[in-house]
């Protein structure tokens, strides 16, 4: 069994490292949010999934599955809250950022 678990665990750790590297390298708040939120989702998800496989079919694995579910529910929500707070406070964006407005193109049927 460990030949399946270890690669999954390593993949999870890899995505966490990518998240940290992204946090240090990317220029502004929003791009940093991309790196941290995305890699947390899969990093934590894969590590917990490896632990589910490790503990087999037991009470602990049910709890771990719930942890994955709640992380996947709350992660985008909290990312949204942080990004929105940054947007409302007009935090500086990095140079070369653009703003596309596509509200005209799609018609609203209300």
């Amino acid at each position: 069994m460990s030949f399946i678990i270890i690669p999954i665990l390593v993949a999870g750790i890899f995505f966490f490292i990518v998240g940290v590297v992204g946090l240090l390298r990317l220029p502004d708040v929003y791009s940093r949010m991309h790196a941290t939120t995305k890699c947390d989702t899969l990093g934590a998800g894969l590590i917990l999934f490896a632990l589910v496989l490790y503990s087999g079919f037991s009470n602990a694995s049910v709890k771990l599955m719930f942890m994955i579910l709640f992380i996947w529910l709350t992660n985008p929500t909290s990312a949204h809250v942080i990004a929105r707070a940054a947007y409302r406070n007009k935090i500086k964006v990095c140079e070369g950022s653009y703003e596309l407005d596509k509200t005209e193109g799609v018609q609203c049927r209300d």
């Binding site: 890899f14 995505f15 990518v18 590297v21 992204g22 390298r25 990317l26 220029p27 502004d28 929003y30 791009s31 949010m33 991309h34 790196a35 939120t37 995305k38 890699c39 989702t41 899969l42 009470n59 049910v62 709890k63 719930f66 996947w72 529910l73 992660n75 985008p76 929500t77 990312a79 949204h80 990004a83 929105r84 940054a86 947007y87 964006v93 990095c94 070369g96 950022s97 653009y98 703003e99 596309l100 407005d101 596509k102 509200t103 193109g105 799609v106 018609q107 609203c108 049927r109 209300d110």
Partner: protein, 170 residues
């Protein structure tokens, strides 16, 4: 003392919480159950104002359940792609990014489906929902290509399709 009548939503929430408690503790001793009942009742009671009304709930009808399952399956696939894409961008020595905001409207009507769409956008390739105001979404994209694609994303069409099916039934 006036006894307030609790709604079905309240009891549904209470039972769900209690079931969750039993699942997590994994014991049926009466002391565990008593504490569980007290806790679930307290949580449901103090959150009465923000419980999900029937109108706010996502509908899982017999006809749409297949669509929902395939939606969440594709979402998980997209999450894997998103992580791979971001990892490739971050680990590339040139750091090939062109970040920016996109503003677009959506035809998704129900608030709960709009929340699902916003969260799906945040979870998938290089896009992050910054603000949702009625039907206007402001999304931050990490590359220009992501920014161009997000307003006509195929997951949005799937949600609209599901809504159409719900309308036919009700």
């Amino acid at each position: 003392m006036n006894v307030k009548k609790y709604s079905y939503t309240f009891w549904g929430t209470f039972l769900t919480l209690l079931l969750f408690w039993i699942l997590i503790t994994g014991r049926f001793h009466w002391q565990h159950l008593l504490v569980g009942i007290l806790c679930s009742f307290g949580v449901a009671h103090f959150n009465q104002d923000i419980l999900l009304d029937p109108a706010e709930r996502p509908l899982f009808l017999k006809t749409t359940i297949k669509k929902w399952i395939s939606y969440f399956y594709i979402l998980v696939v997209e999450i894997f792609k998103a992580n791979w894409g971001v990892a490739a961008i971050v680990l590339n020595p040139k750091l090939d990014i062109s970040p920016g905001f996109v503003k677009f409207r959506t035809n998704v009507k129900k608030p709960v489906n709009r929340v699902i769409l916003a969260n799906s956008i945040t979870l998938t390739p290089g896009t992050l929902t910054v603000e949702v105001e009625d039907d206007v979404y402001i999304v931050h994209a990490i590359t220009r290509a992501n920014a161009e694609d997000v307003s006509a994303w195929y997951m949005m069409d799937r949600l609209i399709e599901i809504e159409e099916m719900e309308k036919d039934v009700s």
